[in-house]
Subunit: 391 residues, 2 copies
């Protein structure tokens, strides 16, 4: 019998010590000890966001975080430009539309990333009050070039609010919020934070605060002004998910010990090792270009004659490895392998060795060991010091 | 040294086995095993609500649950009658107002419960689409007579929607949702459910579903139609707080073993024992009438010459007992003792024995042991079989 191994893009595996931290008894959430936990967790989130902006921790899912960002800066009729590269880009646009915003969408074909040309074209039809971007588009396994697009937007529309959904991206790839001058960035606990679901994080810039003062969309639970007023007292406006805060303190201990640069490098190494393995088997990746490949999740087309869902079933039944289905237009057609959060090199080689056995069992003609060797090679290359000449 | 004893009206103490249940590894929330947990927890919540209506479990706080109820049935301009007996009644009215409803408020003085006369008077100025009531008003420690008022509303306005905030009430006092024909009732995990915060529960009647079909208030995260569609697939629309669901399965095992009638009787016995103790010391209760006294939390005026907050500080520093401050107009003037959830008779006698020591230490003239004896007497009376003649 195999333990279950979660390889979906969230919830991600939670370290044992983080799970154990949740067994601590409840406490008064309006007390000095909780204020200290809140401060500690807020500092940690600020470190992950690479920001000196205000950061808020809301008791909700990532989608709730996206809604919080939208309703705090929008008024009905406000013009929003949504850059949509998949399901999650579309979801944020839908949220803004539900609250009466005038939403223009630029959509990219499956597996493609934002490009400067099309954004430039769309910006010319502006101005827009709000720009929506998705850092890591989980559904299409695409990493969007946020730095490049944000710089373009800042040049063309200096006062626009740049909102970034980094729910599944933060911690998997560098996103320096202050250096990129991003206005609201949203993250979630059950991704690279290595926590159970239940908390969403929002980094809010001074420019966003100005907009919040004018925004008329109705809000109460997600009201950031209330969140700010209570934070000044070391509290949250509403009762927070205390156990996930306990877990967060412990997870931050692990994350800080590893360091941001190492965390990004690890996610990059795992993604590239996995991609090398998949390629070595002659399988097709949903995203062909490494530069725009998600560092959190990888989409793969099964070989001809193998149904994606049959393959996922074998992976789960025989090896306990839980993979994700495709989303949107590729539902039931591809499978997605999550590799973010509490994941290491041996999770990738394990997954690839299982994948080989499963595919051969389903009739695919591949050579056993091939993908594992390719991933190992990639890991060793990534870990090796650069040759002196290249320095 | 003393362990901390939480005696606030939420979060409440969580049994050790329930805390441990949260240490279980994460799972895919879009899978058959999670569908089974969701079904089990939904059934358990339905049992607590005494309803066959749809019940939804949202990842949010109690306030989020109140907002979910409001935004799903309201359109801007809809007439709402809010029965306000304290901070939480006011909060729900504020939420409806934030979403553009035309809210009429009937307010009761501090420590008083809803009464038929004033509600009748207010209803005459109707019609109203929505009526808001608070079952247990935590801020003023009042238990409102929901059954009586709901019956009155049904007679006067047969089609009105009756919404009840039972966040801190459910499980502490009988609230048979179907028998009382209530349309949406809201509860929260960190109260009588004996769970950490993070989940809110909504019981939704067929009459409420009709209104939901017409309501135009903007909503996305809290949209109950999405919740219903996903529930049909054994899922929640957004990633749920999985660990609190694990905890909920275990807490329900305890709750079902005790039985609803016994749970209500226990909360009644604890409230009445505590009240007998407080009275025996000559201290004044915030709510004088036992019939409308909260079964979840008790408000007490400190004796002359003792500051409420000094008293709370001694209780915490010397005995580890965490009491709640007053809320609203009685903030810093009274103290509130929570006794809901995972609480028993000896928690009350412990609390009273500490209270006596603390008060004498602060200069109050009371006789040690008096309140403990009064509570013991009340417990023994409540536990004794009724005399044969009375049956």
């Amino acid at each position: 019998m195999q333990d279950q191994r979660l390889m979906i893009p969230g919830p991600t595996p939670v370290p044992q010590s983080v799970l154990q931290a949740m067994a601590r008894p409840m406490m008064n959430h309006r007390s000095k000890p909780f204020a200290e936990i809140l401060e500690d967790c807020t500092d940690g989130a600020r470190w992950m966001f690479q920001t000196r902006n205000d950061v808020f921790i809301l008791t909700t899912s990532g989608t709730g975080g996206l809604e919080a960002a939208a309703v705090n800066v929008l008024s009905p009729g406000d013009r929003v430009l949504a850059l949509v590269a998949g399901v999650f880009g579309k979801r944020w646009a839908d949220i803004c539309q539900a609250y009466g915003a005038d939403v223009e969408r630029v959509e990219w074909p499956l597996g493609q990333a934002y490009d400067v040309e099309r954004v430039k074209e769309a910006l010319a039809k502006g101005p827009y009050l709000v720009l929506l971007m998705t850092h890591n588009e989980t559904s299409t396994t695409v990493l969007n070039p946020i730095a490049e697009i944000a710089a373009l937007i800042r040049r063309e529309l200096p006062d626009a609010l740049i909102l970034v959904d980094s729910v599944s991206g933060l911690g998997t790839a560098d996103l320096p919020v202050d250096a990129l001058d991003l206005d609201i960035v949203v993250a979630g606990s059950q991704k690279a934070f290595m926590l159970p679901p239940g908390l969403a994080y929002l980094a809010v810039s001074p420019r966003a605060w100005e907009a919040i003062g004018k925004a008329k969309a109705p809000r109460f639970y997600f009201d950031l002004v209330r969140a700010r007023d209570f934070k000044a007292k070391g509290q949250t406006p509403w009762t927070p998910a205390i156990s996930v805060f306990y877990a967060m303190q412990e997870a931050l201990r692990h994350l800080r010990a590893e360091g941001l640069t190492a965390i990004f490098a690890r996610h990059e190494r795992l993604a590239m090792g996995l991609r090398a393995g998949v390629r070595a088997l002659g399988l097709e990746l949903l995203v062909k270009d490494d530069a725009i490949a998600s560092r959190a999740v990888t989409g793969v087309w099964p070989p001809a004659g193998v149904a994606a869902n049959d393959f996922r079933k074998v992976m789960q039944d025989r090896f306990g490895i839980v993979l994700a289905n495709g989303q949107g237009p590729v539902q039931d057609k591809i499978f997605r392998i999550g590799h973010l959060g509490h994941v290491g090199e041996l999770d990738i080689t394990s997954c690839l060795s299982a994948l080989e056995i499963a595919l051969v069992g389903l009739g695919a003609k591949i050579e056993l060991g091939t993908s594992v060797a390719a991933a190992q090679t990639e890991f060793m290359r990534a870990a090796a010091p650069e040759p002196v000449a290249a320095r």
